[in-house]
């Protein structure tokens, strides 16, 4: 009985923090792609995956149970409750900004990859070799 309860509590803990666990997994997948993939396009994908993991983290951190959107005219709650239940939209703003920035980074990386491919005919980081001897 007690064992069951412990397992249940553990499962609940995992479920409650599922967002954060997935976010950490995404960041780790991205790091894996950066470290072990040799293809330049795949590296760009790695950066994008890390960015989306962090986006998930920010959005999950901004979630409040029972919170309402801070839209002035749509506040269905009393003024006294508004201060405690309205959620600051800062995490959403952070996420949106990060999306914009990672879009710019991805575009720049892909265009650099296109240019490298045009000039060398390969996207393999090991074949590109080190820039100079040291």
């Amino acid at each position: 009985m007690l064992e069951n309860k412990k397992a249940l509590l553990f499962a609940l803990l995992i479920l409650q923090n599922a967002n954060f666990l997935v976010a950490i997994c995404l960041v780790l997948f991205g790091l894996y792609a950066l470290l072990f993939k040799k293809n330049l396009i795949k590296m760009a994908i790695g950066i994008a995956i890390i960015a989306s993991g962090i986006n998930l983290f920010l959005i999950s951190a901004g979630y409040r149970k029972g919170g309402v959107a801070p839209i002035f005219t749509e506040a269905t709650i009393k003024a006294s409750e508004a201060e405690t239940r309205m959620v600051l939209p800062t995490p959403q703003a952070l996420t949106l900004t990060n999306i914009v920035i990672s879009l710019a980074v991805t575009a720049l990386m892909l265009s650099l990859a296109i240019r490298i491919y045009q000039q060398t005919g390969t996207l393999d980081a090991t074949k590109l070799g080190r820039l100079d001897e040291l």
Binding site: T73, T76, I99, A107, L110, S111, I114, Q118, Q119
Partner: protein
């Protein structure tokens, strides 16, 4: 990049107008509903992506890259200029809100329908950002479309 069949081309042209309208709607209502300049701009840019996919190389001449580039820079400059106009109090100050001028109506209390004529400089900035994002993304796609990705082109 090859163009696709006639059915796809016609369908793309048919859905183009509603999609662009939807993007404009998202931009214009940025201060009232979720969304805003960036989201609407991305929707508009995705319409052009649809065109590029449907028409392939033919779409290269549909849009003027130089014009898009100037529009993008103008929109960004306009954003900074709008922010500078608030300098009587502070940079980025919302000097139009509650002033009675354009977008200057004050917001009534209580749960009512949203009024579009509110929020001061925020809708103006949303429009500028929408212009900037749609132009910038379209330029990026145009440039990548025009690239000749063939092996050993440079060597």
């Amino acid at each position: 990049m090859r163009d696709m069949s006639k059915i796809v081309k016609i369908t793309a042209l048919v859905v183009l107008a509603p999609l662009i309208t939807f993007g404009l709607y998202i931009i214009a209502h940025g201060h009232l509903t979720p969304g805003g300049g960036f989201q609407g701009g991305v929707i508009i840019a995705s319409c052009f992506a649809l065109l590029f996919i449907a028409f392939g190389k033919q779409s290269k001449h549909m849009l003027n890259k130089e014009l898009l580039s100037v529009a993008e820079s103008l929109a960004l400059f306009g954003f900074v200029f709008l922010a500078l106009l608030g300098l009587r109090k502070s940079f980025l100050n919302n000097f139009l809100a509650n002033s009675g001028a354009m977008f200057g109506a004050s917001v009534p209390f209580g749960t009512k329908e949203a009024y579009i004529n509110t929020a001061g400089t925020i809708p103006l900035m949303n429009i500028l950002i929408g212009l900037e994002v749609s132009c910038a993304l379209t330029i990026i796609m145009l440039l990548m479309l025009n690239e000749k990705v063939s092996k050993h082109a440079g060597k």
